[in-house]
């Protein structure tokens, strides 16, 4: 039972923004495979239309908070997790994009295609209003094309460094030209500023944006690049060369449909075995931590994510939020503790015969390390003369500060 719960908690950490209290125990009755079925089959959530207030990032009904509510929804599955992935991959930031309206339209685009077809996703985002503004396609002309989107499309969105030349960047920029974003936020193509003759890109001839996306998606590096990055996101480590080959075949055979790729990744033994191989991203950590606290506080959530260096709709640059150990660095330990020390006295834990186990299980840590467990026990013991509520709050605060909880 304990082993199964730990495995199910691992699946939920990687495929949702939980696990939320009680969910692991509920799914443990059905098993690991059924858990995977559940998160894969979960229906996409429908956001309510946010209020666009340009003066307030901390708007209760604003885009960021509406999104955080969906992440915190226990009904969310892999779809919600992939919406977050695509935001960090096909990036745009409200720092540069003029309006929330444009950011939200892009968000809806990512939701629509999150588990759809990669080629269609890339087509759509290439001429999305927010993207046109973010990477300077807006106003770029064939006469003097802006290279920004053409380069990042190949370097960061679809192929990776080393698979194209500066000539390809210029060709892509030329073929991508002619687009603007009008005053209502609608993308427009103006033939008179766009490209009209064929230009050579990656060994083929292209004229317009659709051609560019096709040539890029047909390039052999594309399926490899995307499959590797999604593997890294879900499994936490790079796939072995053999494994990349398998995933590329699955993805290419499915004509770049995303669902078969995701299924192939999470239904493989590598996925279940890869525990503690990546840090929880701040959005993941904060959403899970607030659920452990039983708190619905999007203001605190947003503030903590920002302190940790990850504000939704504000990626730091076009490469999105980097993976790696930066999220478990000392500065993150301090920022996480700032939320953790506000943990409330949860009645079930205060009343529990064994508040220690109750707190760890509420955080879905079923096999804590000896050191973390001993530290928590020492805390409970040293607070023996304090009331159960203080002990309960303190032990939850410590559990949220454990290295175990910091990892996905």
């Amino acid at each position: 039972m304990a082993d199964d719960r730990a495995t199910i908690a691992h699946v939920l950490r990687r495929t949702t923004f939980g696990p939320f209290p009680g969910m692991t125990e509920y799914l443990a009755r059905r098993g690991v495979d059924a858990t995977l079925d559940t998160v894969l089959a979960a229906a996409p959530l429908e956001p309510v239309v946010p209020v666009f207030d340009e003066d307030a990032d901390n708007n209760l009904n604003g885009p960021a908070w509406q999104w955080l509510r969906l992440m915190a929804n226990p009904a969310a599955g892999v779809h919600e997790k992939m919406v977050w992935f695509w935001h960090g991959h096909l990036t745009s930031s409200h720092d540069k994009v003029a309006t929330w309206d444009l950011m939200w339209r892009q968000h809806l685009l990512l939701r629509r295609h999150a588990l759809g077809n990669f080629r269609e996703l890339l087509r759509a985002v290439t001429v999305d209003g927010a993207m046109l503004q973010y990477l300077d396609g807006d106003g770029s002309t064939a006469q003097s094309p802006n290279e920004n989107y053409g380069r990042e499309l190949m370097e960061l969105f679809a192929l990776g460094l080393g698979n194209y030349t500066q000539h390809d960047v210029r060709a892509a920029a030329t073929a991508l030209s002619g687009w603007t974003v009008d005053d209502d936020g609608a993308p427009r193509f103006d033939r008179s500023y766009g490209n009209s003759g064929p230009v050579p890109l990656l060994g083929r001839q292209v004229v317009d944006a659709r051609d560019v996306v096709d040539v890029v998606c047909d390039h052999p590096a594309c399926a490899r690049f995307i499959a590797t990055k999604i593997h890294r996101y879900l499994v936490g480590i790079d796939p072995s060369p053999d494994r990349v080959g398998e995933l590329v075949e699955v993805f290419a055979r499915a004509n770049l449909e995303i669902v078969p790729l995701v299924e192939a990744i999470v239904r493989h033994p590598d996925f279940l075995a890869a525990t503690f191989t990546r840090a929880r991203y701040p959005v993941e950590w904060v959403t899970a931590a607030l659920a452990v606290c039983g708190m619905d506080d999007p203001a605190l959530a947003y503030e903590t994510m920002t302190a940790l260096g990850q504000s939704p709709f504000y990626p730091p640059n076009v490469a999105g939020w980097p993976p790696g150990i930066r999220w478990v660095s000392p500065s993150c330990a301090v920022a996480r503790a700032a939320l953790a020390v506000g943990a409330p006295a949860i009645p079930e834990i205060a009343a529990a015969a064994d508040p220690l186990t109750a707190a760890f299980e509420r955080a879905a840590i079923y096999e804590p390390s000896i050191t973390s467990l001993a530290a928590a026990r020492g805390l409970v013991d040293s607070l023996g003369r304090h009331n159960p509520e203080t002990r309960a709050a303190a032990v939850v605060a410590l559990v949220l500060s454990t290295p175990e909880f910091a990892l996905a």
Binding site: S144, V169, G309, I325, S329, P330, C332, V334, A335, S401
Partner: protein
Amino acid sequence: MTTMDRRTLLRLGIGTGVVVLAGGVTGYELTHPGDVPATLRAASPDRRRLLVLEMAGGSDGLSMVVPYADGRYRDLRPATAVDAAQVHRIDGVLGFHPSLENIAQQGASVVAGVGIAKPDLSHFEMLHRWQAGDPDGTVHPDSGFLGRLCDTLGDPSAPAVGVSLGLGATQSLACERVTTISIDTGNEGVFPAFGADEGVQDAFLAAQHAMAHPDRADLPLLATTRAGGDTALRFSDVAATLPEAADGYPQTDFGSQLRLAARLLADDHIGLRVVHVPMDADFDTHTDHPTRYAILMADFDKALAALRTDLARRGIDDRVLIATYSEFGRRVPDNGSTGLDHGAAGTALLMGPTNRGVFGEQPSLRDLDPDDNLKATVNMTEYYATIAESWFGIPAGDVLPGSPKPIPGVVSVL
């Protein structure tokens, strides 16, 4: 690669006025424009510290230090050239951006044409190479250039030999022997307390410390995370005792970073030698370059002026070398969007106890590379060698690939 040609040597003498030896520590008087501050003599090597300003996004060297007298500059940049009448002239060829009033007055060593032999146009590739000190992207060190300086200079028992004022670990301070840390200017690295009762607070902190002890059963990432907690707690213990903050900084992210940097640089308890400031500003000016760059430079200038005044008041301006870098400069011709695309060689500034003037050689605007970018005249490693060898006395070959030579005459050690 570095060519101390006749023109450069002339600039050293003529362009900087007279190189005066300062008799002790001199505070810069901001109130007397027109006075040329005497060159400050560097403190003894064991007391020297380094402040590195990372201008990520690709800062345009030709806008920071403008070749205002070159007609070719105006021809290639009809939409983005800086007005020659507005620049703060360094010599007959180059001048500081109009927003760099204080730097023009307080002085800087300008290193023009810094770059690498075969430039890449990717931000991330180039920033990585700068942070790693790996100019050609062939060595792939686990450490960063600043981290290697810390390893050479620092004490393994010190709470922090290098501090980065940004969120999350940075490659630049990655090291093997000593401790380096990133801290958030918001909390200044101080660990939050649990509850209001002192006894409870102590018990909670003790439990945090207990949890940060190494656990031999930890998987690698778990061990890294636990060690991160330990580093944070050790730094937090000393962070509360940093010298007081000074006034006069602009209310910007960069201003806050530099205000904290001064306190760290003035501290004698944490064993610190290097502070790294990743600027949050966006130098990636593909569009609307003139307006955006002027705003960027104004903040840069004001915050740096406040810092240099602060360091002088604390009597430590002779101990601190301030060095800038950006992953690349920008394309020489305009891009048609009133902006500039990714380029190659850029311009770096060294400030503090350095000789004023232009070092290295301004790349020619008539001999661009095939992508219309500036060709480097000073290699990244020669720039870094100046910091390692001339400032810290560390043989460049110990911390950099190849056998780079420092740029002569920059650091004022007379």
